[in-house]
């Protein structure tokens, strides 16, 4: 299977996303004969193999059911094993668009981290683009390489274990876009400029703190990057509900008697369907700084 190509029927060895509830999903690599324990009971891998993606699968001997979903980079981001803090879909969406990514784009990324951004980028640049991703930690790099292989993405990505801040990307004139998710992104700016195509390209740096973007923007400016902009993008998810707000009893003759009885809610209500904002929401993930490297001028 491949994360970047839909298919209809689940086969052995495929990754499925097991959907229990809105809040509870797990990735599962299928091996005939194995059993996955869910809170709704045992789920037999064999019961999934051969079904269509998106099918309802009984588990716990029919006591409950789950859905077997086709993996997507977004479902993967929600369910992947965290090896680091990860970048979530709201920011990934924005950086994908703002980096002008499309099939065929060549992208350089550091660090790979848990592979959340990598999967989304590979999806967008496939089948003709390539991702060069760099990770400081050897184990994380290896784990990511494995995952990409399991997800049918090996030919689209090169994982390198390297500290790009000290050793650079070792790439020159190849990339359409660079994405930096580093504690000290400014240390990678010079090397990122080298990696970008001479015809120009885009850069994005993701950092949670103001001081990080300050230093990075300074560095970008001094290295000739243009159109430097920093944004913050927050996601607010609404709860869709029907709400009945009781009408106050102001002493109308006809409603006076009832209102003394708490149990009988015959009092009128103002009822409406609403999208209720969440009580709490993410207040900050990080700042996204974008910049353009324009082609070098060969004029007087």
């Amino acid at each position: 299977m491949s994360f970047v190509r839909y298919k209809a029927i689940v086969e052995e060895g495929d990754v499925v996303i097991v959907y229990l509830t809105h809040e509870s999903m797990f990735p599962l690599t299928l091996e005939a004969g194995r059993i996955f324990q869910t809170r709704f009971g045992a789920l037999r891998h064999s019961d999934i193999i051969g079904k269509r993606f998106g099918s309802k699968i009984l588990c716990g001997g029919g006591r409950g059911y789950v859905y077997a979903l086709h993996p997507t980079p977004e479902l993967w981001t929600l369910t992947l094993p965290h090896r680091t803090q990860i970048v979530y879909t709201t920011d990934i969406s924005m950086l994908t668009l703002q980096l002008d990514l499309k099939p065929g784009s060549v992208v350089v990324e550091s660090g790979t981290g848990s592979g959340s951004v990598s999967h989304a980028v590979i999806r967008t640049i496939a089948p003709t683009g390539h991702l060069y991703t760099f990770e400081f930690h050897q184990q994380r790099a290896e784990k990511a390489r494995e995952e990409f292989s399991d997800h049918g993405l090996s030919n689209l990505v090169t994982v390198t274990h390297r500290n790009v801040c000290t050793d650079g990307f070792g790439l020159s004139d190849v990339a359409d876009a660079v994405f930096l998710d580093l504690p000290s992104p400014w240390e990678a700016v010079a090397s990122a400029k080298l990696a970008l195509k001479k015809a120009g390209g885009r850069l994005c740096s993701f950092s949670p703190c103001v001081e990080q973007i300050q230093r990075t923007c300074d560095k970008l400016r001094s290295h000739g990057f243009c159109d430097i902009t920093t944004i913050e993008c927050l996601l607010r998810t609404f709860d869709v509900r029907t709400i009945a707000l009781p009408e106050p009893d102001l002493g109308q003759p006809d409603s006076c008697v009832q209102t003394r009885h708490e149990g009988s809610e015959t009092a009128q209500s103002f009822t409406f369907k609403s999208a209720v904002p969440p009580k709490d929401m993410p207040g900050h993930t990080g700042f996204l700084t974008f910049a353009t490297l324009y082609p070098q001028v060969e004029t007087s």
Binding site: R83, E211, L245, P246, F272, S274, H284
Partner: protein, 510 residues
């Protein structure tokens, strides 16, 4: 000054709790037990260490808690190793319990925790400080005793049980008070089903000068948060309660008496058919209109006005523990809204220290049943209502604030005519749609200018060297506010004939 009989806030780390200062009464908060006796007479804002259930004043920078207590969530991307406290900590829970038993101070426990954490030395100094701060919150026995300010009260309710104050966030409340131009020597109407928090806020801003008409729901004014302000008794004289279910009788003195009589008759009936209750019974005080039904044991009668409210609060606390997110009639359970009941507060307020247990002692209320003082209070109450009616009738009130769990439309329509022209009003609602309805009603009726429907957005920023960023969590909404200014209506019918209709239309669209 921390004084006996006053209500104070006890702060431990980020948790606040409202208690009444009494000598020789044990306070339970955040796993700490102590007596307030040593604190009496010291300034409000003092910090204490709890040792042997007694308070000992300490400087404010005591403990590792002095770094601002912003949200603990942090990306901390510099820490290369992912911390796994389960494995990295060599001390077991039993070890810690044993240390505590043997009287180890908080600082000593934390010291041991750090020494026995395999990762501690590898952490950045920032992360070390964070670790110590986090442990400090858990193991250090420091508390601060604070004056219950509007700011702290609002935040306390929002953290513990936001639905009790209709999710009225502190910034939205601040807008109401300012936009409503609340100040001393004014005459203000308040409709508040937010525990009396808005009422208290308005009274504080009026400083006991002027007139405050409280339109209350249920059988008597409900003012739990209001009482936390420790207003002097003289302030009460400016307060006039008026029952919500008699708003339609403001201009009919005859009807209002009927209404009161009817109330008298009906009050003898209880919803669960047990013994007949006195009319001042607390059963329906806050009928949890949008909440799940809860069986509440009936009380017979009550003694002092202040105690009435406390008792109600206690029942509120009981019902609150089963409370679901209000207003939700859709199929989806709103388990995300983790309400913490304020039962703890009411326990202490009512003086029943063991109220945590299932067998809750109750004061022997019955002995006050036929108290002649009760009849006197009843007479006074009716008098106050008559005063309120007279004041409202004049139609020259200066301000109107509404923050309640009812549809505010009918309330605004009933109360706006009580305002003088060129006065401001502010209506809060947790949801946007009822205020859209209000807006359209008021536009249709006329007599208002500068109608504005607003929402404020609030986010905290962490300002730390090298770590400046917005907080990782924020509130999704602070509710909505509709405000406006009244103007005269009287010349409308005549002026519309003297003015060119075109011009007029242009003006009236704002």
């Amino acid at each position: 000054m921390i004084e006996e009989g006053d209500q104070v806030l006890i702060q431990k780390a980020n948790v606040f709790r409202l208690v009444k200062v009494e000598r020789n009464k044990k306070i339970f908060t955040e796993k700490l037990q102590f007596f307030l006796d040593n604190a009496v007479g010291l300034p409000l804002g003092s910090k204490f260490e709890v040792r042997n259930k007694q308070l000992f004043q300490v400087p404010h920078d005591s403990g590792v808690n002095q770094v601002p207590s912003e949200a603990e969530v942090d990306t901390d991307r510099n820490n290369e190793k992912i911390q796994d406290d389960n494995r990295s900590q060599k001390l077991t829970k039993e070890d810690l319990k044993e240390m505590a038993k043997q009287g180890a101070k908080g600082e000593e426990i934390i010291e041991q925790l750090a020494q026995n954490n395999a990762n501690f030395k590898d952490k950045t100094s920032f992360s070390q400080a964070k670790y110590l701060r986090k442990k400090g919150k858990k193991y250090l026995n420091y508390i601060t005793i604070l004056r219950p300010t509007l700011r702290l009260l609002c935040n306390m309710y929002m953290a513990k049980s936001p639905s009790k104050i209709c999710h009225l966030r502190v910034d939205t409340l601040s807008q109401m008070l300012t936009v409503g131009n609340i100040h001393a020597h004014s005459k203000v109407i308040v409709v508040d089903t937010c525990q009396g928090l808005v009422l208290g806020a308005v009274m504080e801003r009026m400083g006991g000068l002027g007139t405050l008409v409280q339109v209350y729901h249920g059988d008597f004014p409900f003012r739990h948060a209001y009482d936390a302000f420790n207003f002097p008794a003289s302030f009460d004289e400016t307060m006039m309660p008026y029952p919500m279910n008699q708003l339609n009788y403001i201009h009919c003195p005859q009807s209002i008496k009927d209404g009161l009589q009817r109330e008298d008759q009906e009050s003898g009936v209880t919803s669960n058919g047990e013994e007949a209750m006195d009319q001042e019974v607390t059963k329906d005080a806050e009928p949890n209109v949008e909440e799940q039904k809860v069986e509440v044991a009936p009380e017979d009668s009550i003694s002092a006005p202040r105690t009435e409210q406390l008792l109600t609060e206690e029942q509120e606390g009981v019902s609150d523990s089963k409370e679901k997110d209000e207003n939700c009639t859709a199929g989806k359970a709103s388990s995300s809204d983790t309400e913490v009941n304020v039962e703890g507060e009411s326990e202490l307020l009512t003086g029943t220290p063991n109220a945590d247990g299932p067998t809750r002692k109750r004061p022997p209320w019955k002995q006050y049943k036929k108290d002649p003082a009760r009849l006197e209070r009843q007479r006074e109450r009716k008098e106050k209502i008559e005063q309120a009616r007279a004041v409202l009738q004049q139609g020259n009130m200066d301000g109107l604030l509404i923050a309640c769990k009812f549809h505010p439309g009918p309330l605004v329509e009933a109360l706006l005519p009580c305002l003088a022209p060129s006065r401001t009003f502010a209506v809060y609602c947790q949801h946007r749609e009822p205020l859209v309805d209000c807006y359209n009603r008021l536009r249709a009726k006329g007599g208002v200018l500068k109608l504005q429907l607003t929402e404020t957005w609030l986010r905290n920023f962490q300002i730390l060297p090298g770590r400046t960023r917005p907080d990782m969590q924020m509130s999704g909404t602070g509710g909505y506010l509709l405000s406006g200014i009244t103007v005269t209506m009287e010349t409308d019918s005549t002026s519309s004939t003297t003015e060119p209709p075109l011009k007029k239309a242009k003006l009236e669209t704002d």
